[in-house]
């Protein structure tokens, strides 16, 4: 059902605002809404910045040591511990930020040093200090490089001109070398050398022997790398405190929510407006009373033009299916909650689409264990529960259809879909028709709630009569009754469909309404997808059984057979789950919700302690 909401208005003293916000956040029952002249608290910008800093530190830790695996339990924390920021944890965050800075410094230094080392490396064989590598009275000195395969040409050129070539190491663009030429022929040699591929290259900016500089650089690089190792080690140690950083993030997020709560201010007072569930007003009242006795607190029913957020409250069995509805759209607070009707249909149809007792058992095991061990939260938890619940119907329909891991271990209670596709198709249509009828009935409920009994009977009940009649027409003993019902239903639709129009349009409107029968019938035909999915998962399973059977015969064959069996069925189960999830949802969203559902509800997000990374005790 949809929980009725009350509009909350609170006036209190400005100096008690912090304490009141804290108390309201702790109780977790008030969703504050923003009004035109409301503004966030003074510390809003700062808390946003602090939250970002905490998240950045946590992100850095995640990058260096990874997130927690799905199966490790989250830390458990008292609610109280998240309400205030722990200064010890702030220190930890600063340490992480400092370490991050040092690591990036270290990386920058390392890349600068290694770049220089790479530039000096080809010159280490030079046996004179770099600054002395200049022209003498009679000899001109050039430095440069040339590709290794062009070197002989250059050597020949140099010899022809009484010059010497001193070969050094291999540089980025070829062999590095020094040319010594008599001053008279230097220009000529240089021209000729450039023609065969010689490129001038400045020696590195080093004082003294390059070898000495290279050794110095190697030592420095070594030191930098050692430092990095030490930093990484320190990082790993800090990362063990990942849990604490996560707690800090949650504390900061909790603080930021308080700071961003919109309130209207006067010089001495403030005003909060918001929503709460009608049966929780006392909790809100107590939260306020525990802080101060100087307040005015009122709870009102929503006005005509106000749309409160939607809270649905259902039994434990139905609640997980709310996630399926919410993914489409939350119900409008004024309409009937579709979940109690939708849940059993989803459950039944999902199981029918899977339709295998063995798979039902596997699903129960897998999703049951997953819930126990990984303890998923939020909507994901609900989804896993939906799948767990649906394992029951999967097994049920498996027994009905005699399908056990794709094999017929026991004879079917109903029939085997592969042998009797037409009977299965009819079963699917009947289920579809009943599903759609329940949607039409919900539409009637909505009409009656709005006080429109004409719409309930003429636009909804008439369709049930017409469609039932069409169905009966195919059943031999009832075909006479069916014909009458269908004619009666159609007559009601034609006569009343245009009642809102005037003149001749009363009749054309009615005929146009009857044209809707094509839509209704195609909706029912759409349930034939159940048959298609039952057959596809059944046949694929059968094929894997067949393949596994074919390779048996030797020891190796039996091993391969087991592998094919296991991998094949896991694959088929996964694909089957995907199809059943998608198509069971689609039948709800389009065929079922299409009959009555408005949606467009907003979620109810009360001020509360933000436990995004931890579990509350």
């Amino acid at each position: 059902m949809i929980v009725p909401m009350k509009k909350v208005t609170l006036y209190a003293l400005k100096r008690e605002k912090e304490a009141l916000l804290l108390s309201l956040q702790r109780c977790g029952e008030l969703m504050v809404i923003s009004t035109e002249d409301a503004q966030p608290q003074e510390g809003f910008a700062q808390s946003a910045e602090e939250l970002a800093r905490a998240q950045e530190a946590l992100g850095f830790v995640y990058r260096s040591v990874g997130k927690r695996s799905m199966f490790t339990p989250r830390p458990e924390v008292e609610k109280q511990a998240l309400l205030f920021v722990d200064p010890e944890l702030e220190k930890l965050r600063d340490e992480v930020a400092e370490l991050e800075r040092k690591l990036s410094d270290n990386a920058a230094r390392e890349s600068a040093l290694s770049a220089e080392a790479a530039a000096v490396a080809p010159w280490v064989e030079l046996d004179v200090p770099v600054e002395e590598l200049k022209n003498t009275r009679k000899v001109a000195v050039f430095t440069g490089s040339i590709a290794a395969n062009l070197l002989p040409a250059l050597t020949a050129l140099a010899e022809e001109r009484d010059s010497a070539v001193q070969l050094l190491g291999e540089g980025a663009e070829g062999r590095v070398l020094v040319l010594y030429a008599p001053k008279g022929r230097a220009e000529e040699l240089l021209e000729a050398a450039k023609a065969v591929g010689y490129v001038p290259l400045m020696p590195p900016r080093v004082v003294g022997l390059p070898r000495a500089r290279a050794e110095q650089l190697a030592a420095e690089l070594d030191a930098v790398r050692k430092e990095r190792e030490a930093l990484t080690e320190a990082m790993k140690k800090l990362a063990e405190k990942r849990d604490e950083l996560e707690i800090l993030c949650d504390q900061r997020a909790t603080e930021h929510e308080r700071q961003s709560t919109p309130a209207m201010l006067t010089d001495y007072t403030f005003c909060l407006k918001g929503w709460t569930q009608a049966d929780r007003t006392e909790v809100v009242q107590k939260a306020v009373e525990s802080v101060t006795d100087a307040f005015v607190l009122s709870f009102e029913d929503p006005a005509e033009d106000e749309t409160p957020p939607t809270v649905t409250k259902n039994s434990k069995l139905v609640a997980p299916f709310e996630s399926i509805t919410d993914m489409f759209s939350r119900p409008d607070p004024r309409e009937v909650d579709p979940n109690p009707v939708m849940a059993p249909w989803y459950w039944l149809i999902f199981g029918m689409m899977m339709g295998d007792a063995g798979y039902g058992l596997l699903m129960a095991l897998a999703f049951g264990l997953f819930l126990k061990i990984a303890k998923p939260r939020g909507d994901f938890r609900k989804l896993v529960k939906v799948l767990l619940f649906s394992s029951i119907t999967t097994a049920f329909w498996g027994v009905m259809f005699g399908s056990y891991f794709g094999a017929e271990w026991f004879p079917p209670v109903l029939f085997v879909p592969l042998n009797e596709p037409v009977s299965t198709l009819i079963l699917c249509m009947v289920i579809g028709a009943l599903h759609i009828f329940s949607g039409i009935i919900l539409s009637m409920v909505n009409c009656l709630r709005a006080g429109d009994w004409q719409a309930a009977i003429f636009d909804n009940l008439s369709w049930i009569i017409l469609l039932t009649g069409i169905g009966f027409m195919f059943l031999e003993p009832l075909s006479q009754v069916g014909t009458y019902l269908a004619i009666f239903g159609a007559a009601v639709i034609v006569l009343t469909g245009g009642r809102a129009n005037r003149g001749i349009k009363k009749i054309t409107g009615g005929l146009l309404s009857l044209y809707g029968v094509t839509g209704q019938l195609s909706d029912i035909l759409s349930y034939s997808r159940i048959l298609a999915l039952v057959l596809s998962s059944g046949v694929v399973a059968m094929v894997f059984n067949l393949l596994a059977g074919m390779v048996q015969g030797s020891v190796l064959g039996y091993i391969a057979s087991v592998l094919i069996y296991v991998i094949g069925h896991v694959f088929n189960l996964a694909m089957g789950l995907l199809s059943a999830y998608v198509h069971a949802s689609r039948l709800q969203y389009i065929e079922f919700f299409g009959k009555f559902y408005t949606g467009n509800g907003r979620p109810f997000v009360p001020m509360s302690v933000k436990a995004a990374h931890v579990d509350l005790k």
Partner: protein, 157 residues
């Protein structure tokens, strides 16, 4: 083996081939889009995987019809039946709905699914709506599958 049986086998092969090619092409498109989004938003991987796999079902449907034909004409389990030309062409025709619709609907569904992936990237909460939009395209592949199945079972051997 008679020519009729040969024609039936070609039909079954085409069902698996064409629908499979369509799905492979479709999943390629969605896979590329999903990979691009995952690079920026790794958290969405789970949601995107569901949308990515949507155009993959047509290939399974084609495979399914091919297997049913194999069972009917006795290639799987039992001796191969000697079909007449009429029977062979009947099986061939029965395979065509899922072969052709499977091929085309998988590629079209992939385009819708790519849009759904981009929508999910912008608005992660709307993935269910995107899935529904893409699933609407699949309806016609399912109808073709049903026609193929009912035809294959309706042929007298």
């Amino acid at each position: 083996m008679s020519t009729g049986t040969l024609i039936a086998i070609i039909g079954a092969a085409l069902a698996a081939i064409l629908a499979g090619v369509g799905s492979a092409y479709g999943v390629r498109l969605t896979g590329q889009a999903a990979a691009g989004v995952t690079a920026e938003k790794p958290d969405l991987f789970g949601k995107l995987l569901v949308i990515e796999a949507l155009p993959g079902t047509q290939g399974i449907y084609g495979f399914l019809v091919a297997v049913i034909v194999m069972v009917r004409i006795g290639i799987l389990g039992g001796g191969v039946a000697n079909l007449t030309m009429e029977q062979g062409w009947s099986f061939f025709g029965a395979c065509m709905p899922i072969a052709i619709v499977g091929l085309i609907s998988a590629t079209f569904q992939a385009q819708t699914a790519v849009s759904a992936i981009l929508m999910t990237a912008k608005e992660p909460g709307s993935s269910a709506k995107g899935i529904t939009m893409a699933a609407l395209v699949e309806t016609y592949a399912i109808l073709a599958l049903l026609v193929s199945i009912l035809l294959v079972f309706g042929i007298q051997v």
